[in-house]
């Protein structure tokens, strides 16, 4: 792919996960930035706090991620000036989708997850593709380790009969500490098998009290 003269993207690897709870949301991403078989840095944050109840995690091309974050933060500031209030998570979700689709024919090479609390204080997670198609879900994972983690989350978080409970309302019954424990374990497992995931795990917990950040070490090989 990189042999073509016009290939402008690069995949910097990494994995992001988000889980929505009854009154909290957990958003986590590893901190490794890599290209090919090399590591650029072990301490790169893929998570950006856009508003006090709204957190964005992206994997993919980090150049585009930085540009996207700047764009969203600037637009959020304009919104605050014009509407005299902060953007809510569902509003930010729609806005992110519009921003991504705006560049439909030269996309942001980012795979995003937006996590936060909705207007009622319940946890919400929105998952995106590269051009802005989005859906509100109970949990999601993106990135190189996403395919390794998704089946485990499906098994642990999906309610017994998916026919009974629509995905929209599927906030997990797990408590906040149990969800964080699950996220840590699932990342440790993904790190074992995905070469692009590792170094450190950054976990952000959004609840009524605000935003809390935690770090744990992952395998560095």
């Amino acid at each position: 792919m990189a042999l073509r003269g016009d290939w402008v993207y690069e995949n910097n690897g990494g994995t992001c996960v988000a889980i929505a709870g009854a009154d909290y949301t957990v958003v986590a991403a590893d901190t490794r930035l890599s290209v090919g078989y090399s590591i650029y840095t072990r301490e790169f944050s893929k998570i950006c706090t856009l508003a006090d109840k709204c957190v964005l995690a992206s994997s993919g091309f980090q150049g585009d991620m930085k540009a996207l974050q700047k764009n969203l933060c600037a637009r959020h500031l304009i919104y605050q000036h014009q509407q005299n209030k902060k953007m809510s998570c569902p509003a930010m979700a729609q806005h992110l989708s519009n921003t991504l689709y705006y560049k439909r024919f030269f996309p942001y090479y980012t795979f995003n997850i937006l996590g936060g609390l909705d207007n009622e204080g319940k946890g919400c997670v929105y998952t995106y593709d590269a051009v802005g198609s989005y859906e509100r879900v109970g949990y999601s994972c993106q990135g190189t380790g996403g395919t390794l983690i998704m089946p485990v989350l499906d098994n642990q978080l999906k309610s017994p009969s998916p026919l009974l409970l629509a995905a929209r309302d599927a906030v997990t019954p797990l408590s906040e500490s149990e969800a964080v424990d699950l996220v840590k374990d699932v990342f440790a497992s993904a790190t074992e098998r995905d070469i692009y995931t590792g170094d450190k795990l950054e976990i952000i917990i959004v609840n009524a009290a605000g935003i809390r950040r935690e770090f744990i070490d992952l395998r560095k090989d």
């Binding site: 390794l148 009969s161 424990d181 840590k184 374990d185 074992e192 098998r193 070469i195 992952l218 090989d221």
Partner: protein, 273 residues
């Protein structure tokens, strides 16, 4: 007058017969099957008493780790070992094949195998397959003529060196060697340096990882130190654990088919003798 055509038996080496067919198929859009590469760091160095070989233990299939603890240091002869990088099947097959040939040779000559014998067998096999056998090897051993260390490339060229590295992590490992190698290292210093070079590959190259294997070969004795270092333990184990109770997976329907007829045993009187 018609000349009689003599069909010579194939002499071995790469047969180019199917290359045109394969090209035609790829043009039509067929995906050739991938193979597992080891994406490796392998090293060797010569110290005062012999040769030390080292390797990491990760085998990758693209971006996924296929084996977290594979063995990359292969046995060739009691006094000769070979580290392999490249396609895992190729390194296994070629080292097994040459190892068998060496054993037959030992029976025929009634002597300990020499490293250059293994080297010549490997290089002529790899050359005749024109690089399609993707095996990059670090071959080391101690024989009657002394300690030897060679590198063998997939196309069949070889180098004879005092210290060598191969694989995707070779640059990281070579940086350590170039910085710290000197002639006449002791056994402890040599093992320490090999461990450092492999760790450099493990932590800086994404294709290498997990543990360090070391093999020390001296005159008359070989020590295969499998998992000499384990610098990558799992960082987090959930204390909650996972339970899968009945009902976790929905049972949609149940059907029981008895395979054997149940035989009823009726108590009878014991047989009269």
């Amino acid at each position: 007058m018609e000349k009689a055509r003599v069909d010579l038996p194939p002499k071995g080496g790469f047969s180019f017969d199917l290359c045109r067919r394969n090209e035609m198929l790829t043009k039509k859009g067929l995906q050739l099957p991938g193979f597992r590469k080891t994406g490796t760091t392998i090293v060797g160095l010569i110290f005062e008493d012999g040769v030390i070989l080292g390797a990491d233990t990760r085998a990758t299939e693209g971006p996924i780790v296929a084996d977290k603890n594979c063995e990359k240091i292969h046995y060739m002869a009691p006094n000769i070992y070979c580290c392999g990088a490249g396609t895992a099947a190729d390194t296994e097959a070629v080292t097994d094949m040459v190892s068998s040939q060496l054993q037959l040779h030992r029976y025929a000559t009634r002597r300990e195998s020499r490293v250059i014998t293994a080297l010549t067998l490997l290089k002529s096999h790899l050359f005749s397959y024109q690089g399609h056998v993707s095996a990059a090897l670090v071959l080391g051993g101690v024989d009657i003529t002394g300690p030897h260390l060679h590198t063998v490339y997939p196309h069949g060229s070889t180098d004879t060196l005092p210290f060598a590295t191969m694989g995707s992590g070779s640059l990281a490992a070579m940086a350590v060697f170039e910085s710290k190698y000197k002639e006449g290292l002791t056994r402890e210093d040599g093992i320490q340096l090999v461990g450092e070079a492999i760790c450099s590959g493990i932590f800086n190259d994404l294709g290498s990882g997990s543990n360090v294997d070391v093999c020390v070969i001296t005159k008359g004795k070989t020590d295969y130190l499998r998992n000499h270092q384990l610098p990558n333990p799992r960082t987090y184990i959930s204390s909650r654990g996972y339970s899968f109770d009945r009902g976790h997976t929905e049972v949609l329907s149940t059907k029981i088919t008895p395979l054997k007829l149940k035989a009823e045993v009726v108590e009878n009187d014991a047989m009269e003798e």
